[in-house]
Amino acid sequence: MNSSAMIFHEQVITSGRMNPEIDPSLTIWGWEIPLYLYLGGLVAGILFFSAYYVIRHREDEYPTAVKMAPMWAPPLIVVGLGVLLLDLSHWRYFWRLYTTIHLESPMSWGAWTLGIITPLSFLWAAIWLEDAFPRFSWPFLWIKGVINTIRYFRVALAWLILVLAVLLGVYTGILLSAFNARPFWNSGILGPLFLVSGLSTGTAWVMLLARSHGEREHFSRIDLMLIGIELFMIVHLFMGFFSSTEVHVEAAKLFLGGPYTAPFWVLVVGLGLVTPALIELLEVARQKVPVQVPAALVLVGGLVLRFIVLDAGLGSRWLY
């Protein structure tokens, strides 16, 4: 018997507001932004490990990570920037980003970080170019001279790139978490989560490219640890929502019974995190497994994660 009374609260916009891309729900960002965030994270991961092992003077132990993988950084960044430009609705003024810096705006941070890391990634790729492609050799003596000089200072450059890579990775998440108007993004965990995810995709990239079993195994271990941290962070993300305000609880419920439940827990967590972790465990336990499988899963899982987080965030709102 239904003995409880129902009280209804009906909120209606009666003047027919239907601003394109705002109503009935935000659709301001399509595929461009999640793809860009993903590429940003991937590049951050690639450059991080490349720089890290240069600083640790182990560049010959992990040649793929240090010398091969960064070849991909410039094209990936350029694609990312191109996709970003596509998203801008007033793109002819994009150069305005570089006429000022706004410390309170994560987007400004991102613009400047990208602005610096892009040429640096080209530079970084340039110094390893001859190692990556032995048949290639820089023309002109003066170019060779410049490259060698930079190479000489590569540890300093590596420090710079390391810091910028971390910034890049973390900013992709902070960018979203700074929007407290979107309850689903409004968690401090999002920044670190995206950084770790970026690093994880970076290791997966290296695993795909790596030639030596040792390098593959090393990065499998790193990836395993990173996935563990990611899982931990995801749990915390949801715990944080449930102990927050009503709109945050509602946002979390989108993933626990709502429309994002299956895609997130099956595709991202199941196939994108847990499965590659298990396979990598086997790898660590000296079983023979094709390393491409977990690497591909991690790479795809990272992409799907970005798409889902973007979509769910845009759909969560305070009002109406």
């Binding site: 003995s3 009374a5 009280i7 009906e10 909120q11 209606v12 916009i13 003047s15 239907m18 109406y320």
Partner: protein
């Protein structure tokens, strides 16, 4: 005359004529920012300013149009105009859309037959006016001038009324009588000797207690009325709203009485009973000014609140409390007479009960009730006397003895051979009124149209009526023309000028020009002796000491009436224009005609199981079908929705936002229409905003948007006293419908978020 077409087909005005919207997404005169140049801020209120008065509804607020480069940009109210005091309503503010609408009529059209099909061809004004004059002449020669009738709604219609009188015909009608205000006017005339009038003589602003019966002020956006209502609410007036729906007015009310539809008379009688029984009526006022108290007391003796409760579902103590509240603030208690009153067929009697209640409270002629309006006159432009008409509609009074104006549906009927035989009306001039969506029982309207020799439609938009015309004459919008002076006398006597703010678009012309040209062709030019409209206006204005030049400068001018008293003085002797000279609580006049001298409650049929009574009403951003294609106003509301009680929706499995087809008891359908599932309405009725659901593809903005409630009014209950067609007597049921294609893009859905909380 040999009729050109034995059978009239509906012609869709071709889209080549209608054209594509020039309004792109870049908006009204939007400027591109120059690269790097600091975009200057717009200058406020820039441009040329000309006076006008609004045509979007009948309230006729005076205002100023700002025009830049020959294109009207915005409209604001005239500060000194007592209709609006400087603030237009949303429809008036959006009046620019009437000018900008590219889907309006562009050229005169003449019906021809091409390859076995009837189509419109574009014509010159010469051809079109010649054809109209020929048509009128032929009807007059064979059947006399009474063979021509005019349906008129709108200010330019005055010139066509003048034309018809000059012709010798008195068959002039407006649907606003028989389909709207008629019952109220006759009821008040019976009781107080005077009608309520338009605008209503209600002293809302000073009322301390306001009773609204079905009136949804706030959704009904009659300007000053809303302003005064808002002031009254803000000043703490006690508002009592009687409405099956929780309207905007109800949300501001102290009491909301969700009455069972069709039982309002019972409630009114119960209130009268309480006031008399508890001695709460204004005894001095009634003794001094009213007659028939004892007969009234006897007549309502059995109409106790307990009797009214099962009928109305309003609890007895609520009825008593609200009656006492009314008495507490009397005479500053206004039981609003409403406006649209053609509901159930006993509407004159219901309005009588309303009037009697006001009389008992002593509000007529008192502050906070009904004030005495100022009367004023502006000399007409001299013209020859009209010829005597041979017969008028008044000669068929046998059915509706109290009617003081021609019934539009009556004129419609009078065009059908089976009703009037050879005496019938043969030609219609239809000015600014879309008959298929205005008159109930559209089948009857179409039948009448089929028997016409001549149908001329004069309109701004290609409304449904134009598809049936022989000749379509495109009128320009009110922003593009002069019109006669607006002369109103309510609390102030004012005149207002309308002058063009822009040149007529396309080939459209003002109504006065068309009427004059037709008159010239019918040798009636001497009835339009003025050379230009400016001369006409200037001459009239000089008659009261003003001039066209002055009016162009000020827009509105008050005619001072210093000695006018708005309210009865205490103890003043008043003679009322009734047979007894007093306010007639008991109407011997009605008794003599065989009608109830005091209103009596009669039960009306309830909806059959699975059906719900169809109620319709207004919304603030539209004036029914007149604005549903206005591009600016469409942005705020593109389609209507059917309000369904949540419990009912649950039974049917209908969710908020689902599209439905409504089917009435006779099988007529309307829709698809979006469902609004809400707590704000009773379980036995549904509500629609009137004026949507157009069937004209050449008005794509309004084509098939929402449901056409007129199509569902296939049954009417005719008021036996004055012939009004009670239209709230139809019941509808629901059928699922497919969501119309492109709903999200073309229909302005209203974002809804509904949270259901359980309270244990």
């Amino acid at each position: 005359m040999a009729r050109q077409f034995t059978r009239r087909e509906f012609i869709k005005i071709s889209s080549a004529v209608a054209g594509t919207a020039a309004l792109g997404a870049s908006g009204i005169g939007c400027r591109m920012p120059a690269f790097l140049r600091d975009e200057p801020l717009p200058i406020p209120d820039s441009g040329v300013r000309t006076p006008t008065w609004c045509e979007i509804c009948f309230w006729q607020c005076a205002g100023w149009v700002y025009t830049e480069n020959g294109v009207p940009q915005k409209i604001v109210g005239n500060e000194i105009d007592p209709h609006c005091y400087g603030r237009f309503c949303p429809r008036g503010t959006g009046g620019i859309g009437a000018y900008l609408d590219d889907q309006r009529l562009r050229t005169p059209l003449i019906r021809v037959e091409e390859r076995g099909k009837q189509v419109f061809r574009e014509a010159t004004w010469e051809e079109a006016l010649d054809k109209v004059a020929d048509g009128i002449r032929q009807v007059c020669d064979r059947y006399g001038p009474e063979g021509i009738a005019l349906f008129s709604h709108g200010s330019g219609g005055g010139y066509f009324k003048h034309l018809l009188h000059a012709l010798g015909s008195n068959n002039i009608t407006a649907p606003s009588y028989g389909q709207c205000r008629g019952p109220r006017e006759e009821a008040y005339a019976m009781t107080f000797g005077e009608t309520v009038g338009s605008p209503e003589r209600t002293d809302l602003e000073n009322a301390h207690c306001i009773v609204l019966i079905g009136s949804h002020i706030g959704e009904n956006m009659h300007n000053l009325q809303v302003q005064e209502f808002s002031n009254a609410v803000s000043n703490g007036a006690s508002v009592i709203v009687v409405d099956p729906r929780f309207s905007t007015a109800a949300s501001k009310a102290k009491w909301w009485l969700p009455i069972r539809p069709a039982t309002d008379i019972a409630l009114l009688l119960a209130w009268i009973h309480v006031l008399i029984e508890e001695g709460l009526y204004d005894q001095d006022y009634v003794a001094r000014y009213c007659t028939g108290l004892e007969e009234l007391r006897a007549a309502v003796a059995a109409n106790t609140p307990e009797w009214a409760y099962p009928i109305t579902t309003i609890k007895p103590h609520t009825i008593r409390e609200t009656a006492r509240e009314m008495a507490r603030y009397a005479p500053a208690t206004l039981v609003h007479p409403g406006r649209f009153s053609a509901w159930y067929g006993d509407d004159t009697q219901r309005a009588r009960a309303n009037a009697i209640l006001n009389a008992l409270l002593g509000s007529w002629g008192r502050k906070g009730g009904f004030y005495v309006p100022i009367k004023t006159k502006v000399p007409k432009y001299p013209h020859p006397a009209y010829p005597e008409g041979k017969s008028t509609w008044r000669e068929h009074p046998e059915q509706y003895p109290l009617a003081t104006s021609a019934l539009a549906d009556g004129v419609c009927d009078a065009s059908i051979p089976s009703v009037r035989g050879e005496e019938r009306i043969r030609g219609w001039l239809v000015y600014g009124t879309n008959l298929p969506m205005t008159l109930p029982q559209p089948a009857r309207t179409y039948e009448a149209i089929q028997h016409l020799d001549l149908l001329v439609a004069i309109d701004l938009m290609p409304a449904e009526i134009t598809g049936w015309a022989d000749v379509v004459l495109p009128e320009c919008s009110y922003l593009e023309r002069y019109d006669d002076l607006r002369i109103t006398a309510t609390r102030n006597a004012t005149i207002a000028l309308r002058m063009p703010a822009a040149e007529p678009r396309f080939q459209s012309k003002p109504g006065w020009w068309m009427a004059k040209e037709i008159a010239n062709r019918l040798d009636l030019g001497h009835y339009f002796p003025w050379a230009t409209i400016e001369e006409y206006l200037d001459t009239r204005l000089k008659g009261i000491g003003s001039s066209l030049a002055e009016m162009q400068r000020v827009g509105v001018k008050e005619i001072p009436t210093p000695d006018h008293r708005f309210y009865f003085a205490a103890g003043e002797a008043i003679q009322f224009a009734t047979p007894s000279g007093k306010i007639e609580l008991y109407s011997a006049q009605l008794a003599a005609m065989g009608f109830d001298p005091v209103p009596r409650y009669t039960a009306h049929p309830e909806p059959p199981p699975g059906y719900y009574r169809l109620l319709f009403g207004r919304t603030p951003t539209h004036t029914f079908g007149r604005t549903t294609n206005n591009p600016i106003l469409c942005d705020t509301m593109r389609e209507n929705e059917v309000w369904i009680a949540r419990n009912v929706a649950k039974l049917w499995g209908i969710k908020n936002g689902d599209y439905l087809t409504l089917r009435n008891q006779d099988g007529a359908t309307a829709g698809p229409v979006r469902a609004k599932v809400t707590e704000r309405i009773r379980h036995d009725c549904v509500f629609l905003v009137h004026g949507f659901g157009h069937s004209q593809p050449q008005m794509p903005r309004s084509y098939r948007q929402g449901a056409n409630d007129s199509a569902l009014v296939t049954r009417v209950n005719v008021d036996p006293l004055m012939g009004a067609t009670g239209m709230r007597v139809n019941f509808v049921t629901f059928e699922p419908a497919a969501t119309p294609a492109g709903t999200v893009e073309t229909a302005r859905n209203q974002a809804v978020r509904v949270v259901e909380r359980e309270v244990v």
